[in-house]
Assembly symmetry: D2
Homo-oligomer: 164 residues x 4
């Protein structure tokens, strides 16, 4: 439909490391979920309440997948701009089921990393280690390499535009 807009803007934290899936045709996809939360004071009871919402993010753009792979970890704070898509699938009993995702696509959408710094070499996964010194919630820095340049990118960048 001409004259329509489908846009989602989220700022939240990853619940787990991203999952990358590869397909036989060479295509790849990255999935992760992020939590947003809000708190308010209930008018009736006067209590402070909080609600956390989880959002399924699907990245369908090679450059962004590469960045997600390298930089996003459990706990990372990100700005996500994408569009809503509801997928139909069938459970084991053959019933129709629907899942709504925020898709950061080939031709639209963005991801911006909002963490102040993220060290390189984070292969080991994002186990959250409270005792570990001096690190931001998310990115385990296993070495003393200088902070990597922070990726900033849109879905429409071609390879040459990736800033690293």
């Amino acid at each position: 439909m001409a004259g329509s807009v489908n846009k989602v803007i989220l700022v939240g934290n990853l619940g787990k490391d991203p999952e990358i899936k590869s397909f036989q045709n060479g295509g790849r996809i990255a999935n992760f979920s992020i939590a947003t939360s809000e708190s308010w004071k209930d008018k009736m009871s006067g209590e402070r309440k909080e609600r956390t919402e989880w959002h399924n993010i699907k990245i369908d753009n090679d450059n962004l997948i590469r960045v997600a792979e390298q930089y996003l970890r459990k706990g990372s704070k990100v700005y996500v701009e994408g569009q809503l898509q509801t997928r139909k699938w069938q459970d084991k009993d053959g019933n129709d089921r629907y899942t709504t995702e925020v898709v950061v696509g080939r031709f639209n959408g963005t991801i911006e990393l909002l963490d102040r710094r993220e060290g390189g070499g984070m292969s080991g996964g994002g186990d959250y280690d409270q005792s570990r010194g001096g690190n931001d919630y998310s990115a385990p820095a296993r070495n003393s390499a200088p902070p990597t340049r922070k990726p900033s990118f849109d879905a429409d960048l071609d390879d040459d535009d990736v800033p690293f």
Copy 2:
């Protein structure tokens, strides 16, 4: 979680008239769905493709419900700003199911009517009367009542702020 954002921005057309539900405690809710669609040219085949997406909108604010009731109809084009919420429910077999909605709430969100005219009583379908003289921006359909003020409102308006 502080420091988070959960925002959806849609422009699309209502698939049906809104449904209003009343609860025993006096509360009300309006539901409708809107379609957004995009078209693109497939890189491989060169064909033009189109994809339509349906979004469930839930309005949880008295003023906006009143406006939806009066002004929104099947086919109406609207700007919707709300937040994503996924609700858990159980089907008849007791299985968990999830439905994602765009909620225009008590304290956030907006709806803007984008149709040029909105006369009263257009439930019977949106027959656009070409022969009618004058201007869509101001002219009400079917009667000589003075032009209805076009509703423009945010979720945080109290009653006195409703412009009609």
Copy 3:
């Protein structure tokens, strides 16, 4: 700066037909301004007040310029997504001056036409003729050609993607 976002979302009406400027290097630019307005009830006086804001839009993308040229007219209602840019220039006295524009660029941004229909052949300009029957505020339809397909496009489309 990595991790930054600069986004403007407007829905409003063009104050005049777009102006297209051509440069010696073959480049082109489209400029127009759109009005947004809001009304509210003053808490003190109880009066209803209204404020109209004008926004300078600059289009810096060939496909979008072509569409603006063909479809946008004084009064057209549009959704504009772009970014804020402040330009420095000098007045005749050599004083620095600044102008802020919403730029719909080569690699980001969108324009969506929100008018229900727009006839073809709008060469004559957008004089607003109240006495003219059955037309939407904006687009004078000087012939009986069937309504043109409504353009829907992003800044990153290449030529082949333009839907007409």
Copy 4:
């Protein structure tokens, strides 16, 4: 004009501490500017280019002013949602001048702090202490006070809703 939208979404860093102005009628205003920046690879030269944009933010809501006062500092990273307003003023020669600001108002807009930690008294610059143990998400700088609750708030909150 009904049916219009005027929305700006920015994520960037404060260039200086906020300035608070008080008026004789007891009203207050907070001003600060934030930088957003983008980088891209020039198609012609192949060089990487960068452009930084400065945005004037004006906060016109008591709760948000209080938060800005307490939490925002030079270098703070924030999400700002507001609307565009262009103000006319006169320079010393009596010439009309225009300044465009992003206004986070009484009834709309939001500010979200995106920094992992916000301790007190960081006016002296954002020296990030690598050697400090523990976790940025919760640990206040420079003292052993319990973690400050991170402010999350909308323009429409009344006093009781401020989360601290």
